[in-house]
């Protein structure tokens, strides 16, 4: 698929090495944080330039400055040889700078076509040319090789498909410089392949691509050059051919790659929870159990029924059949409340929609499950509220100026730490982590995995859901594979290879076998 795309779109004649955008001493300070220390960097026209770095390393800040969302504190941006103010998003777009964000920022209640033409609708005498727009949009989508309809509501598509539409939208806007911020975080492998085809095609058309990702294999698959940010500083830029995973990880975190997947083995204790022939909306007839000291991994594509299964176990949704046994006894879990009382904790899939109260303080988010415990009768103990929040912030090394900073002001990885941290204060016997490392950098990932070990050593059990195979593969003691709402296979720790598991999850021959998934 990749090679054909490149054949169709031969590289255009560009002066090689021409600089399209140059940063000179670009700097950003927020009250209390120096988010980006003076950065000098030149982007070449038509290159795919990856930017990697931990959470809070300054990647998001850089994007915001380049897209005019935030004003810079000092420094210059030189666009095609001339200084650019980049004071507003509009100015950036007018120059041809666009961004595709990690989480889709489009209108779910409009059609795909309406979203693609949002802001530059085709109208004749003030009347929208709806059918013409749908036709045009469909043509663009078909051209890109996405198998998606243009006339449906955007909200009816999966997150991954919406991401593809967002990318397609950016291509129709005379874009010369396109920034992708973790675009594959919510994509299946197939969707990611489609996106890569699109990116290569854009490169072929001379568009400069900035590709921000935590996934090293994507960086090596796509990029020409890679820049590493750490703590707001540009550590270095490398040609992709002259570097490797180990060097980049080391530049990012000063730590070697072997230390990331931190796996400790414990002797398993008694069974904590058992699902017997559990069915519900989105999954059917699932049986599995979790023992103390065990990580049970659930692997499958997004929409395979894994999240539905655990949220039903957690009482969020009603089961339609089957039994739940807690420590050997059958229990009724009719609400989240019941689940929490039994000793379950859920760190849900979407931080923004399910995990956090974004416009409330970090401290309130951390304490939310335990307010009952830190209240005496009527009143909250202010001292305990403070102490509990500060303890989690310190233990998990959550980067926040104070516990009263709003959760929305933190970077993705630090937000994820809040989602997990609130359950550490509460305590539980069964921890369910649904995609705990989506949009999280290598350093935070390693911290989260280390935390798993700490929980297991205290006799807890863990259900780990991931769409990222190496994660469940390296960590799970028992690995269940889900496909279309059914549990289709079960493996022990490293007893099957990646290809076999993938085939089971996809039920189609994998086009690209091998380690890099």
């Amino acid at each position: 698929m990749m090679s054909t795309a490149q054949e169709l779109h031969p590289a255009p004649t560009l002066e090689p090495g021409r600089t399209i955008l140059e940063l000179r001493g670009l700097e950003k300070r927020y009250p209390g944080t120096h988010a980006l220390k003076p950065v000098d960097l030149a982007f070449k026209a038509g290159e795919i330039h990856a930017i990697v770095g931990e959470n809070g390393a300054g990647k998001s800040t850089l994007i915001k400055l380049l897209t005019g969302v935030m004003p810079r504190t000092s420094g210059d941006v030189i666009w095609e040889g001339k200084p650019a103010a980049l004071a507003t998003p509009h100015e950036a777009m007018a120059l041809g700078i666009n961004a595709v964000h990690q989480e889709v920022v489009l209108c779910r209640h409009l059609t795909v076509a309406a979203n693609m033409f949002l802001g530059e609708e085709d109208a004749r005498f003030g009347i929208l040319q709806q059918r013409a727009m749908v036709r045009q949009a469909q043509k663009i989508i078909d051209d890109l090789g996405f198998d998606l309809p243009a006339h449906v509501m955007l909200g009816d598509l999966t997150i991954g498909q919406q991401q593809l539409i967002a990318a397609a939208r950016a291509t129709v806007r005379g874009t010369k410089f396109l920034i992708f911020d973790e675009p594959t975080a919510y994509l299946t492998r197939k969707e990611a392949d489609q996106l890569f085809t699109l990116i290569r095609r854009l490169k072929g058309e001379g568009v400069t691509i900035i590709y921000i990702s935590h996934r090293m294999e994507e960086v090596f698959e796509l990029a020409d050059r890679v820049s590493v940010l750490r703590d707001g500083t540009l550590v270095g830029t490398r040609n992709i051919a002259e570097t490797n995973d180990a060097e980049l990880v080391k530049m990012m975190i000063n730590r070697s790659i072997e230390q990331v997947y931190h796996k400790e083995h414990f002797t398993f204790g008694a069974t904590i929870v058992e699902a017997r022939n559990l069915s519900g909306k989105g999954f059917e007839n699932v049986s599995m159990s979790v023992r103390a000291g065990e990580i049970v991994g659930l692997y499958g594509l997004i929409g395979a029924g894994r999240s539905e299964f655990v949220t039903t176990l957690y009482g969020r949704h009603r089961k339609s059949a089957g039994q739940i046994l807690w420590e050997g006894k059958e229990v009724k879990v009719n609400s989240e409340h019941d689940a929490i009382r039994l000793g379950m904790a859920l760190a849900p899939e979407s931080r923004r929609d399910q995990g956090l109260c974004l416009n409330l303080p970090v401290g309130l988010n951390l304490n939310l499950p335990i307010y009952k415990r830190i209240s005496s009768n009527l009143l909250i103990s202010r001292a305990q509220e403070k102490a509990q929040a500060d303890r989690q912030i310190a233990d998990l090394r959550i980067k926040t100026p104070t516990r009263s900073a709003l959760a929305s002001s933190l970077s993705g990885g630090n937000q994820q730490k809040i989602v997990i941290g609130k359950w550490l204060a509460h305590g539980a016997k069964l921890f369910i982590f649904d995609e705990p490392t989506v949009g999280v950098d290598v350093g935070t990932k390693a911290e989260i995995y280390r935390l798993f070990g700490a929980l297991l050593s205290k006799g807890a059990g863990i259900i780990l859901i991931s769409s990222y195979l190496p994660e469940v593969y390296e960590l799970a003691d028992t690995l269940h594979v889900f496909r279309r709402g059914k549990l289709v296979a079960t493996h022990g720790f490293r007893t099957a290879d990646h290809e076999e598991i993938l085939t089971q999850a996809l039920a189609e021959k994998q086009e690209r076998p091998g380690g890099r998934i």
């Binding site: 969020r316 929609d353 416009n359 409330l360 304490n367 939310l368 909250i380 609130k422």
Partner: protein, 321 residues
């Protein structure tokens, strides 16, 4: 969120306290200007009158704020006030002891609030719709009960209450304090207060964190209904009649007070002291405009402009942070 937070909350505390102080400064400024501009403003009589005027909206605004913090709205409060005047008047005239009559009226307010909670939680109706429906139907029920007439309350003691003062301060204003202090403790120092904020911010996240979202919503509307019924009792005492068409438009004044006091209609932002100050700022403007012989029609326009200006500056301040 509260004014006396702890050291580490410094940035936020300053900012909230500052807004509270700005409102207080605005109120004092208005009072100074009016004292200079009109001879009668600073008289004990007028100040008492002003406090009486502002008190009832202030209590409504507190209940309203609880609801708005959860991301909802309670349009019914004015109608509940009118309906409560009828209920309390009928009970008293029927010979029910005043204490019991008041208690029953308050329970009616609670029941109306529970009904709102039921409509939102169980029937899935938007708050705007269910409370709008109550607004219109409660007025209707009240009119049916009274045949469209006013009911004169034949109990002097009941009426004297709202006209009397205690240590120089009108009893009605004492009622604001009676409601305000528990409300402040509830919102800023109890876990239920935290839950109101968390539900308003993200109901799903709160639910998954073990917060009983349904109960929280019931609680907010019940408290709003209770405050409204209480104001109905106070109004009946003040005007000496029960009349279902009283308190027309008070829901909007309560919402305006709340918003002027810094409550965000998107939920998860608000306090107790803000709406109280907001209500007295509105009362001062109306009172001052009367004294200055400003056309009553202008008063409405001034209120509208004030809402825009204050909320605009509040928005600037938030963004500036």
């Amino acid at each position: 969120m509260s004014t006396e937070a702890i050291a580490a909350e410094r940035p936020k505390r300053n900012y909230n306290a500052l807004f509270g102080l700005t409102l207080l400064a605005l109120l004092v400024l208005l009072w100074v200007i009016l004292s200079v501009a009109t001879p009668s403003f600073a008289s004990a009589n007028n100040i008492s009158n002003l406090l009486r005027q502002g008190s009832m909206i202030a209590i409504l605004a507190v209940g309203q704020t609880f609801v708005i913090i959860t991301g909802g709205i309670d349009l019914s409060v004015g109608a509940v006030v009118g309906f409560a005047t009828v209920v309390v008047a009928m009970l008293i005239n029927a010979g029910t002891p005043v204490f019991l009559a008041i208690l029953i009226t308050l329970l009616v307010g609670v029941a109306i609030g529970m009904f709102h909670g039921f409509g939102i939680v169980k029937m899935g109706l938007p708050p705007f719709i269910i409370t709008l429906a109550t607004l219109t139907s409660l007025r209707g029920i009240g009119l049916l009960m009274t045949n469209g007439n006013s009911i004169s309350i034949n109990n002097d003691a009941f009426q004297t209450f709202s006209r009397s003062s205690f240590v120089g301060v009108p009893n009605l204003f004492w009622m604001v304090i009676l409601v305000g202090i528990p409300a402040f403790i509830f919102l800023h120092h109890s876990r239920w207060g935290r839950y109101l904020f968390s539900v308003g911010s993200n109901a799903e996240a709160s639910r998954l964190s073990g917060v009983n979202v349904q109960r929280t919503i019931y609680m907010a509307y019940t408290l709003s209904g209770l405050c409204a019924a209480f104001v109905g009792v106070l109004l009946a005492s003040r005007i000496g009649i029960g009349n279902p068409t009283q308190a027309e438009g008070w829901e909007l004044q309560a919402i305006a007070s709340s918003v002027i006091g810094g409550t965000s209609l998107f939920g998860a932002v608000g306090s107790v002291h803000g709406p109280l100050l907001g209500a007295f700022i509105l009362a001062t403007i109306n009172n001052g405009a009367n004294l200055l012989n400003v056309n009553a029609f202008w008063q409405r326009i001034i209120t509208g402009v004030l809402i825009i200006v204050i909320v605009y500056f509040d928005g600037l301040r938030r963004r500036g942070k």
